[in-house]
């Protein structure tokens, strides 16, 4: 065999082996019910399905079974044999596509086989996935290995398989919540994934129905808190970081150590005391109190920005001092303009904070419903009394919050990563 460019012969040898194997495996048991000691080989299932077609006429589910158990395996076998004798990129790529199709079909069959088997009246008991036997799982495994081998033979990374599987897992909750936000039928305890009817009403309802939840108002509250605390926090963090990074003054080390120590206490250990301070200042249950609480302790998180400022060459400052600049001018005219990424990082994280905080806001705002933030609102939609009626609205509300934040985050992601890698350097 010639050594062709872009094809690894080492793996090509095994391609037909895994192409032929599934056909042989059809003679193993596919279904085995221990309780009634019923067994069925793959071959038997095919025969039964063909008989059923003759009797009842053709239907989609019969076609599906025939496709994944007979047609696709045969085509894959042929393709792999052709690929072995006349190796080429085109035929191997086609084989990969066929494998993906078959594996997809096999996974889909896991989700449909119950209805199929129960509908055929094959078994005396109700079908469970655990009745699927050795033959089925081996076929599944062989197909996965076959796919990997074929991919390797054309130097396509098998990492794609891992990434695809992981993406599905990672996106599953997100897709679920998006689907739910458009679901027309209400209720929480539904037994299916894709809504029967789609609607925009949930969005309208969560925004306008103020009978139980004043979501629109809370959204504005949160926006206000997020913007104010983001401005205050950014100023506090950046000036602390700049001072501790650039200015040498007596007590600096002591201050840094003190802040390190303060940061080690769990944040909401002092929550109750903060509540009394707020009360003492006459700001009970107000949004201003929330802004203050979010930003007052922000200086403890100066490390990331300081790490960044530390990397700006000192010579720049010194040159400016020689030219007669004050330290304030160095801060505002030299350091700040050079720190775009860390400023965006600080602004972004402090803006996102209030949207996600439930604990502090719920303690500080207490029962002042007018001043609630969205986090409290969403949390309350899922209590036992509300979940049945409000679950789809919760989904819509969640999307309304997540959408702008995600968009902001994704568009500023570059700066976020730069800021973070600053923190890793420690």
């Amino acid at each position: 065999m010639k050594n062709m460019s872009g094809i690894k012969t080492k793996y090509l040898h095994f391609v037909p082996l895994f192409g032929i194997l599934p056909i042989v495996l059809l003679f193993l048991k596919f279904i085995h019910v221990e309780e009634s000691s019923e067994q069925m080989t793959g071959f038997q299932i095919i025969v039964d399905v063909i008989q059923a077609i003759q009797k009842n006429g053709i239907s989609l589910s019969y076609l599906f079974i025939i496709a994944i158990m007979v047609v696709l395996p045969l085509i894959i076998m042929l393709a792999t044999i052709v690929a072995f004798f006349k190796p080429g990129k085109k035929i191997l790529h086609t084989t990969i596509l066929l494998y993906v199709l078959k594996l997809f079909g096999l996974i889909l069959s896991l989700l449909t086989i119950k209805h199929f088997v129960d509908g055929m009246g094959y078994l005396q008991v109700e079908f469970l996935i655990k009745y699927l036997s050795f033959g089925f799982w081996t076929t599944f495994l062989v197909d996965v290995v076959g796919l990997i081998i074929t991919m390797k033979s054309v130097k396509i990374s098998s990492g794609y398989i891992v990434l695809t599987v992981m993406s599905v897992i990672w996106l599953f909750p997100i897709v679920w919540i998006i689907l739910n936000s458009f679901r027309a039928e209400g209720g929480f305890y539904i037994g299916y994934f894709i809504p029967k009817k789609f609607t925009l009403n949930n969005y309208v309802k969560v925004w306008t129905d103020t009978s139980t939840f004043q979501f629109a108002k809370w959204y504005r509250n949160t926006l206000f808190v997020a913007i104010s605390s983001c401005i205050l926090t950014s100023f506090i963090v950046l000036s602390t970081a700049f001072t501790l990074s650039r200015i040498r003054f007596s007590g600096r080390r002591a201050l840094m150590n003190l802040m390190l120590v303060l940061g080690m206490f769990p944040g909401f250990m002092s929550m109750i005391a903060v509540y009394y301070v707020i009360k003492g200042l006459g700001l009970t249950q107000s949004l201003a109190a929330l802004v203050i609480v979010y930003s007052a302790g922000a200086s403890l998180g100066y490390y990331v920005s300081k790490g960044f400022f530390d990397t700006i060459p000192r010579s720049l400052d010194e040159a400016a001092f020689i030219d007669g600049a004050t330290k304030w001018q160095v801060f505002t005219r030299i350091t700040i303009p050079l720190s775009k990424s860390i400023i965006i990082f600080t602004v972004l994280t402090s803006f996102m904070g209030p949207w996600a905080d439930y604990i502090f806001s719920s303690i500080i705002l207490g029962d002042n419903v007018d001043n609630y933030t969205v986090a409290i609102g969403l949390f309350n939609m899922l209590t036992r009394d509300n979940i049945e009626k409000w679950y789809t609205c919760f989904a819509a509300g969640a999307i309304l919050i997540a959408l702008p934040i995600s968009a902001l985050f994704l568009s500023l992601q570059r700066y976020y990563v730069e800021g973070l890698s600053g923190s890793v350097k420690g």
Binding site: G159, W170, L262, M269, S270, D310, L410, G426
Partner: protein
């Protein structure tokens, strides 16, 4: 030359001591009449400022401060009572002392006193400086000069003013208050204003750490689970995120940006939303159980969040869903910076990709991220959200202290003790224990990390 901070302070103190001894009557008057030297030598605004502060402080001590301090020691002695009013024949409430407000007032007073002592020392210092400037015929800076210096030589005072005020009022003061609470018996049976509470010394710690009480029977298992959780949460995310980053960064993988974005989506959504959604999905009658039954995988719903073992596994796995993308983002930046020639020479030496990973990629990333890893461990000890939003600490356990559950971390238990059962003294004691754990870990890390030891390295 490296001086120890203490020695440094000692030297400066000695200088000021001799300078003070050599000063004139105004300098010597300064400790009693703050700002005397400043006013005499031309710093009118500053001097009057000091004087005003002194007057205000004295007024404060006379009106409130002194009694607050006494209250801090006694924490109140008069309990709230019901007394029969002879005229009306009705029982009336006679207000007693409120221990909680007394403790709070005492702590505030103590902080004010410390603050005043700092001002007092600075006023003496300032007086001495002004006197010697005047004596040596140097110009004495006026008020405007002082203000100007805030933007230049003394910029730290200006820039740190707001952060420090915030920190003192909203972090330091509350913390001191809560720390003192750990040494009282402010629990559910001693709730002001109806009851008094008192100082009990280290009793709470004894009860928590080495008694046969339900508290100790809860504390040790919860601490154990906290550590297990922190180890698993840290390492699953770390290794998973690193492998994912390496996978996406492979040369053969195309559409890197698309893959990355898919995973980053979970970070960009506020984490509590993701957690609440996942909680509803894992519910007994949530979509996952429902579909698993529908498709015939199982016949009974799985107790994802209701059985101790399942719930513990679930929170760790769901936390991977949140955390892996985060580590991926961090390691991606590092991976790109690994010198390529390392790999090339490894390739020439015939190392397999796996070996290259074990010998080059992993040690490199591990070396750079060790401080991150340990600070991540500490933040996982305090990782409130996944537990609170998924299981709220549940399932509850009969052996545990009332309210605590099998997935409770020390922090979530602390939260429950304050917000649900009002056992503030125990909560504070737990907070101090958490602090000690974090402090020991941080001490190891920060002392060893490059950032601490050679801070000037980059500049």
């Amino acid at each position: 030359m490296k001086k120890t901070p203490l020695k440094h302070v000692g030297e400066r103190f000695n200088w000021y001591k001799s300078a003070f001894a050599g000063g004139n009557i105004f300098v010597k008057l300064s400790p009693i009449l703050m700002g005397a030297a400043n006013i005499r030598y031309g710093q009118l605004v500053k001097g009057i400022g000091y004087l005003c502060m002194e007057i205000m402080f004295i007024l404060f001590v006379v009106t409130n401060g002194a009694s607050n301090l006494i209250n801090l020691i006694t924490l109140g002695s008069k309990q709230q009572e019901m007394v029969l009013n002879e005229k009306t024949g009705i029982f009336e409430v006679i207000q007693g002392d409120n221990s909680m407000l007394m403790l709070f007032g005492g702590v505030v007073t103590a902080v004010v006193i410390v603050f005043f002592i700092i001002v007092w020392l600075s006023s003496i210092k300032s007086g001495i400086n002004t006197y010697y400037l005047h004596k040596n015929n140097k110009p004495v800076p006026g008020f405007l000069d002082d203000v100007k210096s805030l933007f230049d030589i003394n910029i730290q005072r200006f820039l740190l003013f707001l952060p420090m005020v915030g920190l003192i009022i909203f972090t330091v003061l509350p913390l001191i208050y809560m720390i003192t609470m750990a040494f009282t018996n402010y629990d559910v049976n001693h709730q002001p204003p109806g009851n008094l509470f008192n100082w009990v010394g280290l009793k709470n710690f004894k009860l928590l750490l080495m008694s046969k009480d339900a508290l100790a029977k809860t504390f040790w298992p919860v601490l154990g689970w906290t550590i297990i959780w922190a180890v698993f949460a840290t390492f699953t995310n770390y290794i998973g995120g690193m492998l994912l980053a390496i996978l996406i960064n492979k040369k053969e993988i195309k559409f890197k940006k698309v893959w990355r974005t898919i995973f980053v989506l979970t970070i960009s959504i506020p984490s509590f939303i993701g957690l609440l959604v996942v909680r509803t999905m894992l519910n007994k009658s949530g979509i996952i159980n429902n579909e698993l039954i529908n498709f015939g995988f199982i016949t009974e719903p799985l107790p994802f969040l209701t059985s101790a073992i399942w719930a513990r596994a679930t929170v760790i796995i769901v936390n991977m869903w949140l955390g892996i993308p985060f580590t991926m983002l961090i390691t991606t930046g590092i991976l790109i910076n690994i010198p390529a020639d390392l790999y090339e020479s490894a390739k020439i030496d015939g190392a397999s990709p796996f070996k290259a990973f074990i010998k080059i990629t992993f040690p490199y990333i591990f070396f750079i991220t060790t401080p991150y890893l340990i600070s991540n461990f500490i933040s996982n000890v305090n990782n409130f959200n996944p537990i609170f939003f998924l299981t709220a600490g549940g399932p509850q356990s009969m052996e545990y202290f009332k309210g605590a559950g099998k997935t409770d971390l020390l922090v979530t238990w602390l939260y429950k003790l304050t917000s649900e059962s009002k056992n503030y003294s125990y909560a504070s004691a737990i907070g101090i224990v958490i602090f000690i754990i974090s402090a020991i870990l941080s001490l190891i890390v920060y002392r060893k990390s490059g950032a601490y030891n050679n801070e000037e390295g980059f500049q």
